[in-house]
Amino acid sequence: MATPLKRVRGLGAAHSGTETFWRQRVTAIANIPLVIFLILSIVGHIGAPYSEVRAYLAHPVVAVLMLALIASAAIHMRIGLKEIIEDYVHGGCKIVAILAATFFAGAVGLASALALLKISLGS
Protein backbone atom coordinates (compact mmCIF):
# COMPACT_ATOMS: atom_id res chain seq x y z
CA MET A 1 0.00 0.00 0.00
CA ALA A 2 1.54 3.32 -1.09
CA THR A 3 0.81 6.24 1.14
CA PRO A 4 2.33 9.76 0.88
CA LEU A 5 4.40 8.88 3.95
CA LYS A 6 6.43 6.44 1.85
CA ARG A 7 7.58 9.29 -0.39
CA VAL A 8 8.83 11.52 2.39
CA ARG A 9 10.74 8.94 4.43
CA GLY A 10 14.48 9.38 4.52
CA LEU A 11 15.55 12.01 2.01
CA GLY A 12 12.07 12.30 0.46
CA ALA A 13 10.91 12.31 -3.15
CA ALA A 14 13.66 14.62 -4.40
CA HIS A 15 16.37 12.47 -2.71
CA SER A 16 18.10 15.58 -1.42
CA GLY A 17 16.18 16.09 1.81
CA THR A 18 16.08 19.60 3.26
CA GLU A 19 19.63 20.40 2.14
CA THR A 20 18.65 23.17 -0.31
CA PHE A 21 16.06 24.63 2.09
CA TRP A 22 18.63 24.80 4.86
CA ARG A 23 21.41 26.15 2.62
CA GLN A 24 19.11 28.99 1.51
CA ARG A 25 18.54 29.92 5.17
CA VAL A 26 22.23 29.72 6.10
CA THR A 27 23.25 31.96 3.16
CA ALA A 28 20.31 34.30 3.92
CA ILE A 29 21.54 34.82 7.49
CA ALA A 30 25.13 35.31 6.28
CA ASN A 31 23.92 37.80 3.66
CA ILE A 32 22.27 40.12 6.23
CA PRO A 33 25.46 41.69 7.68
CA LEU A 34 27.38 41.22 4.42
CA VAL A 35 24.77 43.07 2.31
CA ILE A 36 24.61 45.92 4.86
CA PHE A 37 28.40 46.13 4.47
CA LEU A 38 28.05 46.11 0.66
CA ILE A 39 25.42 48.89 0.63
CA LEU A 40 27.61 51.09 2.86
CA SER A 41 30.61 50.33 0.62
CA ILE A 42 28.70 51.27 -2.54
CA VAL A 43 27.11 54.45 -1.20
CA GLY A 44 30.38 55.52 0.41
CA HIS A 45 32.36 55.26 -2.84
CA ILE A 46 30.23 56.78 -5.56
CA GLY A 47 32.42 59.08 -7.61
CA ALA A 48 35.48 58.26 -5.48
CA PRO A 49 38.87 58.42 -7.21
CA TYR A 50 40.37 55.17 -8.51
CA SER A 51 43.23 54.98 -6.00
CA GLU A 52 40.82 55.38 -3.07
CA VAL A 53 38.47 52.60 -4.28
CA ARG A 54 41.38 50.26 -5.00
CA ALA A 55 42.99 50.89 -1.61
CA TYR A 56 39.63 50.30 0.10
CA LEU A 57 39.04 46.97 -1.67
CA ALA A 58 42.65 45.88 -1.04
CA HIS A 59 42.21 46.18 2.73
CA PRO A 60 42.25 42.59 4.09
CA VAL A 61 39.09 43.01 6.19
CA VAL A 62 37.16 44.53 3.27
CA ALA A 63 38.46 41.85 0.88
CA VAL A 64 37.49 38.97 3.18
CA LEU A 65 33.99 40.41 3.77
CA MET A 66 33.55 40.98 0.01
CA LEU A 67 34.72 37.43 -0.80
CA ALA A 68 32.36 36.01 1.83
CA LEU A 69 29.49 38.05 0.39
CA ILE A 70 30.25 36.89 -3.14
CA ALA A 71 30.36 33.21 -2.17
CA SER A 72 27.22 33.40 -0.01
CA ALA A 73 25.27 35.56 -2.49
CA ALA A 74 26.21 33.38 -5.48
CA ILE A 75 24.91 30.25 -3.72
CA HIS A 76 21.77 32.04 -2.48
CA MET A 77 21.13 33.54 -5.93
CA ARG A 78 21.53 30.20 -7.70
CA ILE A 79 18.98 28.52 -5.39
CA GLY A 80 16.54 31.45 -5.68
CA LEU A 81 16.73 31.71 -9.46
CA LYS A 82 16.25 27.95 -9.77
CA GLU A 83 13.15 28.14 -7.57
CA ILE A 84 11.62 30.92 -9.70
CA ILE A 85 12.41 29.05 -12.92
CA GLU A 86 10.93 25.79 -11.61
CA ASP A 87 7.65 27.61 -10.89
CA TYR A 88 7.23 29.45 -14.18
CA VAL A 89 9.25 27.66 -16.88
CA HIS A 90 8.40 24.15 -18.01
CA GLY A 91 9.68 21.45 -20.35
CA GLY A 92 13.02 21.69 -22.12
CA CYS A 93 13.21 25.44 -21.52
CA LYS A 94 13.33 24.74 -17.79
CA ILE A 95 16.57 22.75 -18.08
CA VAL A 96 18.14 25.43 -20.29
CA ALA A 97 17.05 28.23 -17.93
CA ILE A 98 18.37 26.43 -14.82
CA LEU A 99 21.67 25.74 -16.59
CA ALA A 100 21.88 29.43 -17.55
CA ALA A 101 21.16 30.48 -13.95
CA THR A 102 23.83 28.10 -12.64
CA PHE A 103 26.44 29.31 -15.15
CA PHE A 104 25.52 32.94 -14.45
CA ALA A 105 25.97 32.46 -10.69
CA GLY A 106 29.27 30.65 -11.26
CA ALA A 107 30.52 33.28 -13.74
CA VAL A 108 29.78 36.40 -11.69
CA GLY A 109 31.00 34.65 -8.52
CA LEU A 110 34.32 33.58 -10.05
CA ALA A 111 34.90 36.87 -11.88
CA SER A 112 34.22 38.91 -8.73
CA ALA A 113 36.43 36.65 -6.61
CA LEU A 114 39.31 36.80 -9.10
CA ALA A 115 39.00 40.59 -9.35
CA LEU A 116 39.17 40.90 -5.54
CA LEU A 117 42.18 38.58 -5.34
CA LYS A 118 43.91 40.54 -8.08
CA ILE A 119 43.25 43.82 -6.25
CA SER A 120 44.37 42.35 -2.90
CA LEU A 121 47.54 40.72 -4.19
CA GLY A 122 48.38 43.84 -6.16
CA SER A 123 48.98 42.70 -9.70
Binding site: I32, I42, M66, L81, I84, A115
Partner: protein, 134 residues
Amino acid sequence: MTNKLEAERPLSPHLQIYRPMLTMMMSIAHRITGFGNAIGFALLTWWLVAVSIGPEAYSYVDAFFGSLIGKLLLLLFTWSLIHHMLGGLRHLIWDTGRGLDKTSIEVLAWLTILSSIVLTVLVWVVGYALKGGQ
Protein backbone atom coordinates in the same frame (compact mmCIF):
# COMPACT_ATOMS: atom_id res chain seq x y z
CA MET B 1 2.87 5.93 -16.10
CA THR B 2 3.44 9.54 -15.17
CA ASN B 3 1.97 10.74 -18.50
CA LYS B 4 -1.47 9.52 -17.52
CA LEU B 5 -1.32 11.55 -14.34
CA GLU B 6 -0.56 14.78 -16.20
CA ALA B 7 -4.02 16.15 -16.95
CA GLU B 8 -4.64 18.97 -19.44
CA ARG B 9 -5.25 21.58 -16.78
CA PRO B 10 -3.19 24.02 -14.76
CA LEU B 11 -1.42 22.49 -11.78
CA SER B 12 -2.80 25.29 -9.65
CA PRO B 13 -5.06 28.29 -10.34
CA HIS B 14 -3.26 31.02 -12.25
CA LEU B 15 -2.37 34.30 -10.57
CA GLN B 16 -4.98 36.36 -12.44
CA ILE B 17 -7.76 34.32 -10.77
CA TYR B 18 -7.08 36.00 -7.46
CA ARG B 19 -7.93 39.51 -6.35
CA PRO B 20 -4.58 41.22 -5.65
CA MET B 21 -3.80 41.10 -1.94
CA LEU B 22 -0.98 42.69 0.02
CA THR B 23 0.63 39.42 1.09
CA MET B 24 0.47 38.10 -2.47
CA MET B 25 2.05 41.27 -3.85
CA MET B 26 4.77 40.99 -1.20
CA SER B 27 5.50 37.42 -2.28
CA ILE B 28 5.80 38.57 -5.90
CA ALA B 29 7.91 41.57 -4.82
CA HIS B 30 10.26 39.22 -2.97
CA ARG B 31 10.86 37.28 -6.19
CA ILE B 32 11.21 40.40 -8.35
CA THR B 33 13.70 41.99 -5.93
CA GLY B 34 15.56 38.67 -5.75
CA PHE B 35 15.85 38.69 -9.54
CA GLY B 36 16.79 42.37 -9.46
CA ASN B 37 19.56 41.58 -6.98
CA ALA B 38 20.94 39.07 -9.50
CA ILE B 39 21.21 41.88 -12.07
CA GLY B 40 22.80 44.05 -9.36
CA PHE B 41 25.32 41.25 -8.70
CA ALA B 42 26.37 41.49 -12.36
CA LEU B 43 26.84 45.27 -11.93
CA LEU B 44 28.94 44.64 -8.81
CA THR B 45 31.07 42.17 -10.78
CA TRP B 46 31.53 44.76 -13.54
CA TRP B 47 32.67 47.32 -10.94
CA LEU B 48 35.12 44.91 -9.22
CA VAL B 49 36.59 43.65 -12.50
CA ALA B 50 37.07 47.23 -13.74
CA VAL B 51 38.90 48.18 -10.52
CA SER B 52 41.13 45.11 -10.90
CA ILE B 53 41.99 46.00 -14.54
CA GLY B 54 43.05 49.58 -13.98
CA PRO B 55 42.20 53.30 -13.90
CA GLU B 56 41.07 53.47 -17.53
CA ALA B 57 38.57 50.59 -17.27
CA TYR B 58 37.37 52.06 -13.97
CA SER B 59 36.75 55.47 -15.54
CA TYR B 60 34.04 53.98 -17.81
CA VAL B 61 32.27 52.28 -14.89
CA ASP B 62 32.62 55.42 -12.79
CA ALA B 63 31.14 57.55 -15.59
CA PHE B 64 28.21 55.14 -15.93
CA PHE B 65 27.39 55.06 -12.22
CA GLY B 66 27.89 58.81 -12.02
CA SER B 67 25.24 59.38 -14.71
CA LEU B 68 21.56 59.83 -13.95
CA ILE B 69 20.67 56.31 -15.17
CA GLY B 70 23.59 54.85 -13.24
CA LYS B 71 22.58 56.61 -10.03
CA LEU B 72 18.96 55.56 -10.51
CA LEU B 73 20.06 51.94 -11.02
CA LEU B 74 22.16 52.08 -7.84
CA LEU B 75 19.25 53.58 -5.91
CA LEU B 76 16.94 50.82 -7.18
CA PHE B 77 19.60 48.19 -6.42
CA THR B 78 20.01 49.37 -2.81
CA TRP B 79 16.23 49.47 -2.34
CA SER B 80 15.92 46.00 -3.90
CA LEU B 81 18.63 44.63 -1.58
CA ILE B 82 17.02 46.18 1.52
CA HIS B 83 13.50 45.09 0.55
CA HIS B 84 14.65 41.53 -0.17
CA MET B 85 16.62 41.47 3.08
CA LEU B 86 13.63 42.61 5.15
CA GLY B 87 11.40 40.17 3.25
CA GLY B 88 13.93 37.47 4.04
CA LEU B 89 13.84 38.40 7.72
CA ARG B 90 10.06 37.90 7.62
CA HIS B 91 10.63 34.44 6.16
CA LEU B 92 13.14 33.62 8.91
CA ILE B 93 10.57 34.70 11.53
CA TRP B 94 7.92 32.52 9.85
CA ASP B 95 10.39 29.60 9.80
CA THR B 96 10.26 29.60 13.60
CA GLY B 97 6.47 29.27 13.40
CA ARG B 98 5.85 32.81 14.68
CA GLY B 99 3.99 35.70 13.08
CA LEU B 100 1.78 33.59 10.85
CA ASP B 101 -1.61 34.91 12.04
CA LYS B 102 -3.56 37.31 9.81
CA THR B 103 -2.77 40.48 11.77
CA SER B 104 0.96 39.79 12.09
CA ILE B 105 1.24 39.01 8.38
CA GLU B 106 -0.36 42.34 7.42
CA VAL B 107 1.69 44.29 9.96
CA LEU B 108 4.95 42.64 8.85
CA ALA B 109 4.10 43.35 5.21
CA TRP B 110 3.53 47.06 5.84
CA LEU B 111 6.61 47.23 8.07
CA THR B 112 8.69 45.72 5.25
CA ILE B 113 7.41 48.21 2.65
CA LEU B 114 7.77 51.29 4.84
CA SER B 115 11.12 50.45 6.42
CA SER B 116 12.62 49.43 3.05
CA ILE B 117 11.82 52.90 1.68
CA VAL B 118 12.87 54.74 4.86
CA LEU B 119 16.16 52.81 5.14
CA THR B 120 16.99 53.34 1.45
CA VAL B 121 16.44 57.10 1.71
CA LEU B 122 18.39 57.18 4.98
CA VAL B 123 21.37 55.31 3.52
CA TRP B 124 21.58 57.68 0.56
CA VAL B 125 21.09 60.85 2.58
CA VAL B 126 23.72 59.81 5.13
CA GLY B 127 26.03 58.60 2.34
CA TYR B 128 25.85 61.92 0.55
CA ALA B 129 26.11 63.93 3.77
CA LEU B 130 29.29 62.08 4.79
CA LYS B 131 30.87 62.82 1.42
CA GLY B 132 30.07 66.49 1.81
CA GLY B 133 27.72 66.55 -1.15
CA GLN B 134 30.36 65.64 -3.75
